[in-house]
Symmetry: C2
Subunit: 84 residues, 2 copies
């Protein structure tokens, strides 16, 4: 159980879970007015690079967590653009 990868999985679960309420609020209300476009684009670029970095270091927790977060962010951005 003292494999450091578990730290990564736990970290990934927490920081991804922290995103869910915001994402669900956008899906439910179909609007993302209180989300800044700049924030969404910056986060997508950053999370994508973390995904590439995780891949380059062979870190499965980073790949998994950042893939899920990237999907959530992409959907939030889509709502932001679609339902201005």
């Amino acid at each position: 159980m003292n494999d450091p990868e578990y730290l990564g999985y736990a970290a990934g679960i927490l920081t991804t879970i922290a995103f869910l309420p915001q994402a669900f609020k956008v899906f439910r209300t179909r609007q993302a007015r209180d989300i800044s476009l700049l924030w969404a684009v910056t986060m997508i670029a950053g999370v994508f690079l973390w995904l590439c970095y995780g891949y380059s270091r062979g870190s499965v927790p980073m790949i998994m967590a950042n893939s899920v977060t990237l999907c959530l962010l992409a959907i939030i951005l889509w709502y932001k653009i679609r339902f201005r």
Copy 2:
């Protein structure tokens, strides 16, 4: 320039920058009413674990980015509790 660590530094800069507007808004207005306590606590736990994970893998970009983000989150949480 094709050292993967640069991916990590770029990712860290972007995801940390994405945090700044929210943090500055809290510092300027001295209130964090639109920030959920659960979100702040979940993020702090997650970012702390990413910091530990980065340390366990000897990843300087992860250590640096998550340290800065952890400080910003800690200050946001302090404002959240202090100025309810």
